[in-house]
Amino acid sequence: MLYYILRRILQMVPVIIGVTLILFMLIYMIPEDPASLILQKGATEQALANLRAKMGIDRPLHIQYLRYMGNLVRGDLGTSYRYRRPVSSILADYYPNSIRLALAAIIIEIFVGIITGIIAAVKRYSFWDTLVTVSTTLAVCVPVFWLGMIFQNIFGLRLGWLPISGMGDGSLRYYIMPAFTLASVSLAYVARITRSSMLETMSNDYITTAFAKGLSPGMVIGKHALKNAMIPVVTLVGLNLGTLMGGAVLTETVFNWPGVGRAIYHAILERDTPVVIGGTLVLVMIFLILNLIIDIVYAYLDPRIRFDRRESRV
């Protein structure tokens, strides 16, 4: 297992190289001069040229890239054009908030999603089942930011139950709306796959065996069906992490949440390239690490893969 984890960590290196490369090329295509963003309007051409040389952005793309990667290895993410502070220190302010929000969303996604899925499966064709089907369909169709704004309007503005935006003192109340918003799409998928996976699992012969042993329906579902039914769910949670990271940018912006997502959003508006690249890298890293955790859970659930070497899923 340890060997497996190490191998997975090493596999992150090419992913990081790929991500930075793509970001670099995208940003290079924007015909905007960072130097003129930093200096006041009316700065002399000479001053601009000096600054460009100092920042190294007058060099060809591949040189810039290699220099960036060289710094990255040393843990240096560069300096923000806008704030003149190291990107790493800016991100250090933000990313704990993002991780907390992401974790809250994942917990909601998993618990609420699985429980509603199980209820829908066990009470198939009932009112609850229909309710789950309808609400998950809506959650998948509605854009995340729009859902966030609806929540704000209803629970924040009209009912006044929850704070409309921000993190306030960081108490739980502030998390509820953004976490549910961020979790919404994944939650819907988890509920649906839990339902169908549960129904499929219940039709297996080993479920009949479990009943034939004299187990109660509760034990058959809770022990024999659940663990098997969770295997595709865990896979899905892993795949959903990408959606979650993308949703983080929108959710944090809508709820004015002081996280990496919002920072990236503002940095894009302000053409603050180092923050965009650095922030995205952090999101990718979080994604990769969560993915690794998912894979370890997966190996725990399914003994059949514990013994084979499995191709990595990134």
């Binding site: 034939a212 004299g214 098997n228 003994p303």
Partner: protein, 332 residues
Amino acid sequence: MNEKLLEVRDLKTHFFTPDGVVKAVDGVSFILNKKEVLGIVGETGSGKSVTALSILNLIPQPFGRIVGGRIMFDGVDIAGLGQKQIQKYRGNRISMVFQDPAASLNPVYTVGNQIMESIMIHQKIDKRSARKKAMRLLDMVGIPEPQRRLNSYPHQFSGGMRQRVMIAMALANSPSILIADEPTTALDVTIQAQILELMVDVMNKTGSSIILITHDLGVVAKYADKVMVMYGGKPVEFSDIDKIFYEPLHPYTNGLMGSIARLDSKKKDRLTTIDGSPPSLIDLPPGCIFYPRCKYRMEGCARSYPRFKEVKPGHHVACHRHAEFLKEEADG
């Protein structure tokens, strides 16, 4: 001395599907005595599995339901028991072994866990004693290194070994009846005999009875004391093994025996040697269900269904012409 252990009377299990009512089991009756092996034979789809599942009320949901009959076990009609009560019988007094051992064991738990679970739901013993017991069971069914194998997962066993695990699990609480639904159909031919020997051996030692479902007449001939022949969800003949083989009264049984006689001993008989195919169990016509394939049919056979009744002591049959067949036999 024949001591009655289980008596099934006019059992009816139907599936109320959207396409119509499937009369999967319709009027099955038989008696199982102590220390007896009862064989149930019939083509695929003749209702053997549903009969077996009905005994422990394990009928596939949502459509299946017992709609009539009694299942008397130990003085109790277990067909009428509620969920909580029937649970006490399942895996305890009456156990089952299924056809496909690869699918019948839960892939995500060790076999030790699954055997111990069977023990611990019916016996008040702690985990350590249950583990010891599970180990002895594995040893008894011939699994080498039982101590170590307790920690293995089902996928780490071969098909035959998995079926041994299933048998160990079924025997965990020393049941009075073991119901084995085609226990060797999914296995390699070379190990089929070993598995059957094992089951019969163990049950002989403990003085328990077996219901052995199969479509292999050779197996029935070798192990069964009594046989029930099923066709289209209905019992057509039930008797001692000798009578079934040498004095069959139902044309269907007769056909089966004829087909066995024609085959050389090496070939496995799959009961498909009678012309025609079994009926659909939805919307059955009123007459004898074997009518379309019967060589001996008469006009009257299509009008009413022949009752399944005892025509000689211990010999039940459902055929309008049984009296003539009986006479022929007597005449030689």
